[in-house]
Structure formats: C-alpha cells, structure tokens
C-alpha cells in the first residue's frame, strides 16, 4: 500500500493528484460502493455499521433503504444482484446472525451483478451484546472475505470486492471492526463507474439460481471448486502484500490489528492480509521462509493462526501471547509481544501508566431528559414486574435507578422468551409474577412481530409493552416503517401498530400516555392481572430525534424536603444541592429539562412546579 500522498493536499498540488478527504471507514465504504457503480443497497441499522447506509443514501444515483431486518436486507440485495445490478447490504456483526440464511445462499447461487455484504464487528463490545468474530462466517459459508484496515483501504477494497464477486460468481463478505468503521483517515477519492441503467428483464437460469436438491448438489461441487480458484487468486491479489523489514520478526495481521502491530514493531516484516479467506498458502509459506519467527496478531478468535497452522506452517506466537477478548491498541501489542521476547519494539510505547483515579463517579449512558420511556419504567419498577427486555435505548432501564429489566439477549427475543417463561409457569402462580415483555417500535418491526404471533397463536399469558418512539433511537435516529418516511426521504405508508397487533390475534390492546405515570401503572396492573395475551402500546416521539424541548420545571426550595424520591426518575436534569442552611434540596437544570413532568409526579410535596405559560396557566 502506498500511503495517501498527504502532501498533495497542499496548495499547488499537481492537477492530476487524487482528491484527498478525511472519511470514516463507514463513509469510505459508502464512497467506494458508489464509485464501484452500486445501484441498490439495503440494510438494518446497527452500531458500528449504521453510517455506511446513511452516507450512501446521500448519493442521488443510488437506491438505498432501511429494511425491517438484516435477513430481508440481504435477500433484497441478493435479488438486485441476481437481476444484474451491483448491490450492497450492511449490518453489525450480530445482524449477520439474523441474515445467516440468505447469507449462506448468496454463496451458492449465481448472480449477474456483484454482491458485497458488510459485517461490522465490535471487539470490546462498545455497543453490542457479544463480540463474536464474523471472520468465521466466511469459512462457514465458503465465501471470500476482504478486510480493510483503514479508511483509504475501506474505499479501495470495496471496488476490488465487486470485481471478485463478479469474477468468481459469489457474494463477498466485507468485514470491518469498530476501529475501522468509526476511525477516520485520509482517503483517495476516485470516479464512479457508470452502471448500466434500469434493467428491462431478468435473465433466467434456474439451474444456478433455484436451490432445490437437483440444482444444489452440483452447485455445492462448484462452490468447492471456486474456493480453490479463490485461493489461487489470493496468492497474487494486491489485497495481500508483503512488507519486508527486519527478517528476525515476521508478523501476519489484518484490519485494525495490523495498524496496532505496525506501530508497535515498525521495523518488522509484515504479511498484511487484506483478503483473509481463503488464505494464500504459497504466499504464507514463502513469507515464513524469509523470517526467523512468525507471529500472528489478530483480535478475537485465532482465525488466521489456526488456518495458517492447518497449512503446516510453524507459528511462533499468537493467542498464547495476545488476548482472545477485547480490542488491541499499539501499546498493548508492544508490551505483550516484547514481554514474550519479540525484538524491535517501539520503546516509546512501553510506558508506565499510573492507575486511573478510582473514586470518580461512573458516567454510563442513560435515558435522555424527556425520554418517553421513563414513565413506563417508573411504573414497572413500582409493580416489581419481571421484565423480559430487548435491544434498544430502553435497555438502559436495566441500570440503576430503574433496574426494571431482568433479561435481554437479541433483537425480538424479549417477547418470545417471555412466551417460553409463561408456558412453564404454574397457572395458579400469582399473576404479579407474570412475565412482561418490552420492545421498541423498530425492534418490533425487526423481529418482534413474529414473536408476538407466537404469543397470540399459542396463547401464552404474556403482557407485551411496545414503546413506540417513532424512530430507531439507539443507533442515532434512523427511519423505520412506523415513521411514514424512508431513508432517502420519500413518503411511505405508516404502520398502524394497534391494528397490526389485533390482526395477529391479540384482542386485549391498550394504549397509554407514557408521561402519565399513574395511568401507566394502573393499566399495566390491570393487564398483568388479566388472563389472556395483552399488548400495551406507549406512543410518544423520541425527544432527541424530534428535538422536543418544552419549558423547564422548577423546584420550590421551601416545599422540597430533600427526600430524593424524584431522583428515582433517573433524569440527569435533576441533581442534589444544598440550601442556605446546608440541607439537601433538589434542583433542576433549566437547559437540559424538557418539561416532561415525570419527576413532578413522583414528588409527594408538590415541590416540583410546572412551567407557567404566557396566559398565566400551568403548561
């Protein structure tokens, strides 16, 4: 890799110098897809992948959409590619679990257009429930995999990925991690390859596109043959490169781990792997022959290490030195490898760092001031219900002071897990111990609908709360089918959630005002006591996404007793202060308070006062 010629950004740069821009890895993938002539893109939001589709949607000659879930997104992209257009689907690592079925198929069928499927993994679980290593999916699905290390590679390698996809007739897994997707770097921009216009017909080839045993049996053999051809391609592609340096140390690495290793051992020899499945057997063996010791530096699973060892190549260090969990940085790689006797470390990275200050208050993420979920969780905590949770901002209610969520696994599972719990509970058990499922609007559309269908069809005694805040909030406010708008700003039909729930077979459907704590508590109490499946829908738009900001409440310091009950609203607009006599009192930050009024409903002394409107009445 030639590094981007940053000097060319200076005034007076040569006229033919490439245009340089600082892009995040995600923006670079979008740019590369656009340059590659992609016409169709479908995704479901998920950190750290979301910004790829948001950036791609801004190019006006690409169709880009949010699908209800990742399975649908990959199927839609597969259809577009089968029809002959270059197509893209993007997701976070766990999204590929949802999409695993069509993902495997996209390795089996022949597509006229290229298909690239991006999996953005999250080592260190910055915003995820696990840190699975999706490189394993490439081997499992017998699919080529390409891994960029930084923004410049993220842009360029996408274009190569489409060439590989079309040349070998398979989807390509394009794997990033948080520190590639969310890291910014200097990228060289290129021109767009103009794709063919809209298609007039779809080429028919059932033998390669209709996967029933009669066709799939010969296709499997073809896929195995293709892997051999891809391994041959991997020997010479520019995606893999050798950087010879000090021959005492050879390091094999890919992605963000390469960046850490390169800084930790700047003089070492490197085999920088850009195409990490299938692996180039002769290239690896040749590199091994040129160095005294071979180390594999990779985050998470020993994917490269195990597969290199399987080729009979001696590896002198890998996961026996480096951790299986979390992400790397240059200092970590420098310290662990040099302690293991690897020479040539950058001594400047071996610094003794004092311990972090221990007694500082944690600052975990929390429900925003004015969040429409707050009142519902205050009610659930009071009812001491068992809450089967799901993936979204409302997961934050698992933390103090709410602690009103008791299990959570994957998207859509809150309802179906509550269904399973309900079926194994004694039917005479106290109704208040009945499981309550909670899910957001976007997650309900994602995989919650089919779970609720199980509740309705198989009649389990589950109360399902749908927190409809009219957006996909946790990932930053993406459009969904409940908003009436698409990713690219088109009007769309708005899903009628109560009607949909009834159509599934639920007859008890209640709607509540999420800011009315007493009503939330009363309705939930009634529904928990009922003897049939029930759905409670709390609708109010996301305060952040819709920029909702009312006048702030205030505290009457003469009425406030400092009892701290209002602090159980878990709102950062509230804090304790001291009055002139040194007694504790609550105060409200007028800038962050949006006037939702939940805290005022908790106060037993009427000390939290609603703002007064211009006509002199309470707001």
């Amino acid at each position: 890799m030639t590094p981007p010629d940053v000097a060319a950004a200076d005034a007076g740069a040569k006229a033919d110098a490439p245009q340089l821009e600082i892009l995040s890895g995600n923006e670079a993938i979008a740019r590369g897809a656009w340059e590659a002539g992609v016409r169709f893109a479908s995704a479901y939001p998920g950190t750290p992948s979301t910004e790829i589709m948001e950036a791609l949607a801004k190019y006006d000659d690409v169709y880009a959409e949010w699908a209800p879930n990742e399975k649908v997104a990959v199927e839609a992209a597969t259809g577009a590619a089968l029809a002959g257009a270059r197509a893209l689907s993007t997701m976070k690592h766990v999204g590929l679990n949802v999409a695993a079925d069509p993902f495997f198929s996209s390795s089996m069928i022949h597509m006229a257009g290229g298909l690239v499927i991006v999996s953005a993994d999250d080592p260190a679980m910055h915003s995820s429930q696990d840190e699975q290593d999706n490189r394993n999916y490439a081997k499992f699905a017998k699919m080529p995999m390409i891994e960029p290390a930084d923004a410049d590679e993220a842009l360029r390698f996408v274009k190569t990925a489409y060439e590989v996809s079309e040349r070998f007739g398979t989807a390509v897994l394009y794997r990033t991690t948080t520190r590639t997707s969310h890291a910014q770097g200097v990228a060289r921009l290129g021109e767009r390859v103009t794709p063919a216009g809209p298609l007039l017909q779809i080429q028919r080839d059932p033998s390669q596109q209709l996967m029933m045993p009669h066709n799939a049996i010969p296709r499997h053999a073809a896929v195995e043959q293709r892997l051999l051809e891809l391994a041959e391609y991997a020997e010479t592609t520019e995606l893999n490169r050798i950087e010879m340096g000090d021959t005492r140390v050879g390091i094999v690495a890919s992605g963000a781990a390469y960046c850490s290793a390169k800084e930790a051992f700047p003089q070492a020899s490197f085999l920088k792997v850009g195409m990490s499945w299938p692996l180039p057997k002769r290239l690896i063996a040749g590199f091994r022959a040129q160095v005294d010791k071979l180390y594999v530096v990779e985050e998470l699973d020993p994917f490269l290490e195990e597969n290199i060892r399987l080729q009979g190549v001696q590896v002198d260090g890998g996961k026996d030195i480096l951790p299986l969990c979390g992400e790397f940085n240059p200092g970590l790689v420098a310290r662990l490898l040099s302690e293991a006797g690897v020479p040539g470390v950058d001594e400047g990275l071996l610094v003794d760092v004092p311990d972090a200050v221990a007694d500082l208050p944690d600052r975990p993420p929390t429900l925003c001031p004015g969040c429409s979920h707050r009142g519902v969780f205050v009610a659930l905590r009071r009812l001491r219900a068992f809450v089967s949770g799901d993936i979204g901002c409302y997961s934050l209610a698992a933390l103090p002071p709410f602690e009103a969520m008791h299990c959570s696994t994957c998207m859509g599972a809150g309802i179906s897990m509550a269904h399973g719990m309900s079926k194994v509970m004694d039917e005479n058990a106290d109704r208040k111990n009945r499981p309550v499922a909670i899910i957001g609007d976007s997650t309900f559309f994602h995989t919650g609908i089919s779970s609720l269908l199980d509740v309705a069809y198989n009649k389990s005694n589950v109360v399902t709360i749908i927190l409809d805040n009219r957006t996909t909030a946790m990932t930053g406010g993406q459009e969904n089918p409940g908003m009436g708008k698409t990713l690219q700003g088109q009007d769309a039909p708005l899903v009628d959630i109560p009607a949909l729930v009834r159509a599934l077979g639920i007859t008890r459907v209640r709607e509540i005002d999420p800011f009315d704590v007493a009503q939330c508590q009363a309705v939930l109490k009634e529904e928990i006591a009922a003897d049939e499946p029930s759905v409670v829908i709390a609708t109010y738009p996301c305060v952040l996404q819709y920029r909702i900001n009312g006048d702030a409440y205030t505290v009457d310091a003469d009425l406030c007793t400092g009892c701290k009950v209002c602090l159980r609203a878990g709102c950062t607009a509230l804090s304790l202060c001291k009055n002139k006599d040194g007694e504790p009192r609550v105060e409200i930050d007028p800038v962050s308070c949006t006037g939702c009024g939940v805290c005022a409903q908790l106060c037993r002394y009427e000390a939290i006062v609603a703002p007064v409107t211009d006509d002199g009445k309470d707001a």
């Binding site: 960046c259 200092g331 208050p361 990932t475």
Partner: protein, 198 residues
C-alpha cells in the same frame, strides 16, 4: 523534509458537548497542514449522557487510530471529572486543557454517587501542566454556551504545531454560517486564555 513525530490529542467529554465537532476541526487542520491523520471515536450510545472520547493522531505516517495510554501530547477535556478520568493518559510534560465545568453523571443525578469535592484542586495536584478554562462562561460571553467547544480549541491553539490562522479558517468552514461570528469570537476568547502561561 525532516520527520515529524506523531502528535496525539485525546478529547474527553460528555455526549452532546461538541467533542465530535472539535475533532472534526482539528483533523481537517492537520490534513491541510500536510499531515497523515487518523481519528477514532465510538458513537452509538454517546448521545445519552455517557462519556465520549475522541483520539486524534497526526504525523508523517499514522497507522493506528488509537492512542496508547501514557503518550498523549494534549488532553482536551470538556468537563472536570472527564479531565480527571483521563489525566493519566498524558505523557510526561503533556498539557491538559480543560473546561472547568460540571455536568452531572446519571449516577450523581440518581443520588447513587456524589460529584467529587475540590475536583479542580485535585486536577492541579495530579497534573501541574494544566490550563483550566471557564469555557462555558466565555462561550456565553461570545453569544452562546454551545460554543464552549470552540473556546476550548482556542485555548489549546498555542500548544499545537498549527498556525492559528489555519485553525480559524477551518472553523470558518466547519460551523453553520449564521453562527460564524459567535464561533470566531469564542475562538478569539479561547486564544486569549490559552496565551496566558498556566
């Protein structure tokens, strides 16, 4: 050209304080000055009141987007506790520039923890090479509290290998046009504070 060592800036703050804009400006200045640049932050849950950090690195050739603890040249913190939380990331002789502002974490709002007493004295004791800036007040003086991040850019400017003019020209390009005058005034007020030896 002599080799320019990699310069590491760590920015810490609270979601919503403008950490992202500050790193946007600094990275574009570095590119305009002919450096290779890498910058890393984690977003997704940051807007919900959690801590936010941004790693910014520039030099002749930068590979990793992550700074190694103990190698930070300048720590720019938008809140007092968030300054204290990352002060050990500074290299010997590194500079801490922080906004002497208090933003309650949810753990304090809920009454589970107390905001530390005497945090400013503790910061000075931990790291004598420090510039404490009342960025919120200076931003308000410039026209809006929201410009505190630009005050902070001004306050750190003299510690950077950039010309203030280049920083100002990138700020001009990076802020909404109708907030330009306020932001330029915020930058100027920050530079005045930053010019005074700590």
């Amino acid at each position: 050209m002599t080799e320019r060592p990699t310069f590491n800036i760590l920015i810490s703050g609270v979601g919503g304080q403008g950490v992202v804009l500050a790193s946007y400006v600094l990275s574009r200045v570095a590119l305009a000055e002919g450096y290779d640049v890498k910058q890393s932050e984690v977003h997704g849950m940051a807007q919900r009141g959690g801590c936010v950090t941004s790693h910014l690195r520039f030099g002749d050739r930068v590979y990793s987007s992550l700074i190694t603890p103990g190698t930070v040249d300048v720590l720019l913190s938008f809140e007092s506790v968030e300054a204290m939380r990352y002060v050990h990331w500074l290299k010997p002789g590194g500079l801490l520039v922080y906004n002497a502002a208090r933003v309650n974490p949810s753990t304090v709002s809920s009454g589970a923890c107390e905001y530390p007493e005497g945090i400013e004295e503790r910061i000075v004791a931990a790291w004598p090479n420090v510039r404490a800036v009342d960025a919120s007040a200076l931003a308000a003086q410039a026209g809006t509290v929201k410009a505190a991040n630009v005050v902070m850019l001004g306050a750190m400017a003299s510690a950077l290998p950039f010309t203030p003019e280049m920083l100002e020209s990138v700020i001009r390009r990076s802020v909404p046009p109708k907030t330009l005058d306020v932001n330029l005034e915020a930058f100027r007020l920050g530079r005045e504070v930053g010019a005074v030896p700590a």
